[in-house]
């Protein structure tokens, strides 16, 4: 090993040509800024990544007619509900399941708002067993005007529902006006749902 690199460069024809100090500083600053900016942006992304509503907005359904559905009622599976059943007045459709822990969190919030009778509340029971669902409503209270049961979750695909809880606002003409993914809070009702409702009411 006699050709180990000497620290002092030999005066060869292609010896290192010292780049100008200014150019070097410029390059360092550009690379550094790019790196810092990229990392900051990715850090912001990580911070945002667990916000439950970030994936759902904007929902492709907003402003479009609500997808057709024809589902049996939870309490009486011989009767069915369709879009026509609910047409005429706005309604809030809340997707829940007895297996969904966060539904339990938002349930008191929703129930409180339902008591104001501001709008009709429809429950959408997703991929649940009937007995479990009925027991759940008995235990936590039933704020819904009616509850439809989607046992297989086929209709849920049309609605773009990929979990529970999710909440939709549909106006009297059957147009989806608002959607929220994840548990609804009082703040969300006050800042999003009520303004959306007021807009619908103002249009009439």
């Amino acid at each position: 090993m006699n050709d180990t690199p000497a620290s002092a460069p030999a005066p060869a024809p292609n010896a290192p040509r010292p780049p100008s100090r200014g150019a070097l500083a410029f390059a360092v600053i550009i690379i550094g800024l790019f790196f810092i900016g990229l990392m900051a942006l990715l850090y912001y992304g990580v911070q945002q990544s667990d916000r439950p509503d970030r994936e759902s907005l904007p929902s492709p359904l907003i402003g479009k007619p609500a997808p057709a559905f024809d589902l049996p009622l939870l309490h009486d599976s011989n009767r069915r509900a369709t879009n026509a059943t609910l047409a005429g007045e706005p309604y809030v459709m809340n997707v829940w399941g007895s297996w969904c822990p966060e539904c339990r969190v938002e349930h008191p919030v929703l129930s409180r708002f339902a008591l104001t009778k501001r709008v009709r509340f429809v429950g959408y029971n997703l991929k649940d067993e009937r007995g479990d669902a009925l027991r759940w409503l008995e235990q936590y209270g039933n704020p819904y005007m009616l509850v439809v049961a989607d046992v297989e979750g086929r209709t849920a695909i049309d609605w773009g529902i990929y979990g529970a809880p999710e909440t939709f606002l549909v106006d009297g003409k059957g147009i989806v006006r608002w959607k929220h993914v994840g548990a609804v809070t009082d703040a969300i009702i006050a800042q999003q749902l009520i303004p959306a409702l007021e807009k619908i009411e103002a249009e009439r």
């Binding site: 010896a15 550094g32 990392m39 942006l41 439950p52 969904c100 991929k127």
Partner: protein
């Protein structure tokens, strides 16, 4: 807030009070991973310190450590596979990603079907590359070998720590459920069994040129001797990445039911960025090795390539960008890998800034020379890479600056690629025909002029013959003819002059031919794709061009773990039966996810593609019919490019043991 996965827990995952008294195999797996982490620490710290101090004993640790690491990670991987095969639902990862109905073959591939296991595979591939470098590094001076393996060991430390601390695949779920969930139905497909491993071999493979770049910076010199030695590694990694991306595209084509082959989805972009950067690196390495020029640039590209691979892993695994591919979001994982990313990229850039200015310049070259052409190649490819990066991160940037939700789609990427790739295609045939250092511009021009004319004529003919989209068709035909003929001209000149070509030249010719073939596929399918969505009742038919499609109805088919609506569509050409296609819609037993399986009649000049839509009642179904001219050429082109990479890597010149300096 709970992540999405916690919000929905399908009823199938009900725990039952039945603790399975399984052997302690999963714990053994965990222990081997911890041992692997310790060995990786050893593999990085001792040889790096040894190289700095000239301690040969410490440097000698690198090789055995790399082998030991491979053995340990392979054992862990085998143990996780065993848990899947034996359906040990007391392992959380197994319970969440398989169930008793899952066919045997998918029990093997389920190992890398979700975050934890695929990360384990990533670590395994990493260990494989390390061991391969250890085996094939005999020709290298010991300090270089020690530094390269040491840097690879450091990267392995990061990934093993990520695996053990945030994503342990051997976590127990006690009491064990009697039934698991299911492997994501999207992944229950032969194409997807090999897509991730190919992709990972490519992604992770860029760690070799990266480790070399870091070793060179530590050493303070770029030596043509061992630059030559890295070139085949870059080529092989890039070849595998090409195969992986092509497989993913092929899968999307037949499985998603849209008939598209590329969607500019964030995760597709995540794999495409290192690919573009890798393509640039392959070319700049050739210049640096042969002429000594672009030394600093080559090192920066090598760093960028692996950094982009790491960022791809980050984007997929952190949930930062939403995509069909991404694994469940988990901020703690995102943060871990972000810190890792920052350390790797930050420290290597810092090292670069400190050391790169000391690197020597290569031989001078004139404005008209092969160096200039390859510089143009590099500028265009890196610009394309930067544009893809911008397009991928732009929605996040807009969100961060509160400019609203924006999605950047095909219009942006399509336009940009047209602008950046057109000059690349135009210049491509000149590259191999132009001399190093100085060239009379008239010489390659004269060589190629007749072929340019021929390509132009082919384009004009295509323009008038195309049933639709004449401009794109003409561009595709002319561009492909130009590249193919230009490449053939090079082969011809070589063979006439010396009677033989080196594997390196053959590899280049193959890859360039791949570009031509790819151009035909990409542009012609875009121009001439015919697509019709119709509602058909049994017995009804629809005519498209020369073809008629008669819908014969739908029946139910029971698969191993799904129930399928299987359509029968008779395709006829000139009133004669051509083929009976069976598009399917599969509903998987667990979770009820619906997957489409298109019915395809593949052909070299075009595919006939039928996908089943929704049932419309009364036996009527929405049926989507496509005629996709030359779509196979897209993947054929990619295959040729990958093959080119492998053939080049096979050149004996790269493995020749030489201690004389060529620079």
């Amino acid at each position: 807030m709970l992540p999405v996965t916690a919000r929905i827990s399908p009823p199938t995952l009900r725990r039952v009070g039945h603790a399975s008294g399984n052997a302690m195999l999963p714990e053994l797996g965990q222990i081997t991973l911890i041992l692997a982490l310790l060995v990786a620490l050893l593999q990085s710290l001792l040889p790096l310190a040894g190289a700095a101090r000239g301690n040969a004993t410490w440097m000698a640790v690198a090789r055995p450590a790399a082998y030991a690491q491979l053995a340990l990670v392979a054992v862990a991987f085998a143990l996780l596979t065993a848990a899947f095969v034996r359906q040990d639902f007391s392992v959380r990862y197994v319970a969440e990603n398989s169930n008793t109905l899952l066919p045997m073959i998918y029990r093997y591939s389920a190992v890398w079907g979700a975050h934890e296991g695929s990360l384990l595979m990533w670590v395994l591939v990493m260990a494989l590359w390390s061991a391969a470098v250890a085996v094939f590094s005999r020709a290298l001076p010991q300090p270089v070998m020690a530094r390269v393996l040491g840097v690879m060991g450091l990267v392995a430390v990061g990934f093993l720590a990520f695996l053990i601390f945030t994503s342990n695949p051997f976590d127990r779920l006690l009491p064990a459920p009697i039934e698991g969930r299911d492997l994501n139905p999207l992944l229950q497909d032969p194409g997807l069994i090999i897509h991730p491993p190919m992709l990972y071999v490519g992604y992770v493979g860029f760690v070799v040129p990266f480790a070399f770049a870091i070793a060179a910076l530590l050493e303070g010199q770029v030596d043509a001797r061992w630059l030559r030695w890295t070139r085949p590694w870059t080529n092989i990694a890039w070849g595998f990445l090409t195969l992986g991306i092509a497989l993913g595209s092929w899968w999307a084509y037949y499985e998603l039911g849209w008939g598209g082959w590329w969607f500019w989805d964030p995760v597709e972009n995540a794999s495409f960025m290192p690919w573009l950067c890798g393509a640039a690196l392959i070319h700049s390495q050739a210049v640096t090795e042969k002429r000594g020029s672009f030394g600093g640039w080559t090192l920066l590209l090598a760093i960028a390539c692996f950094s982009l691979s790491l960022m791809g892993a980050f984007l997929v695994r952190s949930g930062v960008l939403t995509s069909v591919h991404s694994f469940a979001a988990d901020p703690s994982r995102g943060l871990f890998i972000l810190v890792f990313l920052a350390i790797v990229i930050g420290s290597s850039l810092l090292l670069y800034v400190l050391r790169a200015p000391r690197l020597p310049d290569g031989a001078p070259f004139a404005a008209s020379s092969r160096e200039t052409l390859l510089l143009a190649n590099n500028v265009l490819l890196t610009c394309a890479c930067a544009m893809v990066l911008l397009g991928t991160l732009y929605p996040l940037l807009a969100d961060a600056l509160d400019m609203g939700k924006i999605s950047v789609g095909p219009p942006y990427f399509g336009l940009l690629f047209l602008i950046l790739m057109a000059p690349l295609v135009l210049l491509l045939p000149f590259g191999p025909l132009t001399r190093w250092q100085r060239e009379q511009p008239s010489r390659p021009l004269a060589l190629l002029l007749p072929w340019a004319g021929l390509a132009l004529i082919a384009g004009v003919i295509a323009y008038f013959m195309a049933p639709q989209g004449p401009l794109k068709t003409a561009a595709g035909v002319a561009g492909a003819t130009w590249v193919a003929l230009g490449t053939a001209r090079f082969v011809w000149i070589r063979l006439k002059a010396s009677g033989r070509m080196t594997p390196e030249m053959w590899g280049m010719a193959l890859a360039h031919l791949g570009v031509a073939v790819f151009l035909v596929g990409a542009l012609l399918v875009e121009a001439m794709n015919v697509q019709r969505e119709v509602a058909l009742k049994p017995g009804q038919s629809v005519e498209i061009g020369r073809y008629a499609f008669r819908f014969e109805g739908v029946d139910e088919k029971q698969g191993p773990n799904y129930l399928s609506d299987r359509g029968h569509v008779q395709v006829m050409r000139n009133d004669r039966d051509l083929v009976l296609l069976h598009p399917e819609k599969r509903a998987y037993a667990s979770g009820g996810q619906v997957m489409t399986e298109a019915g395809i009649r593949p052909g070299l000049t075009g595919d006939i593609y039928v996908a089943l839509g929704e049932s419309l009642g009364d036996g009527a179904w929405a049926v989507r019919v496509h005629i996709k001219p030359f779509v196979r050429w897209i993947w054929l082109g990619a295959l040729l490019m990958a093959l080119g990479g492998f053939v080049t890597a096979a050149d004996k010149r790269f493995r020749r043991r030489t201690d004389t300096r060529t620079a």
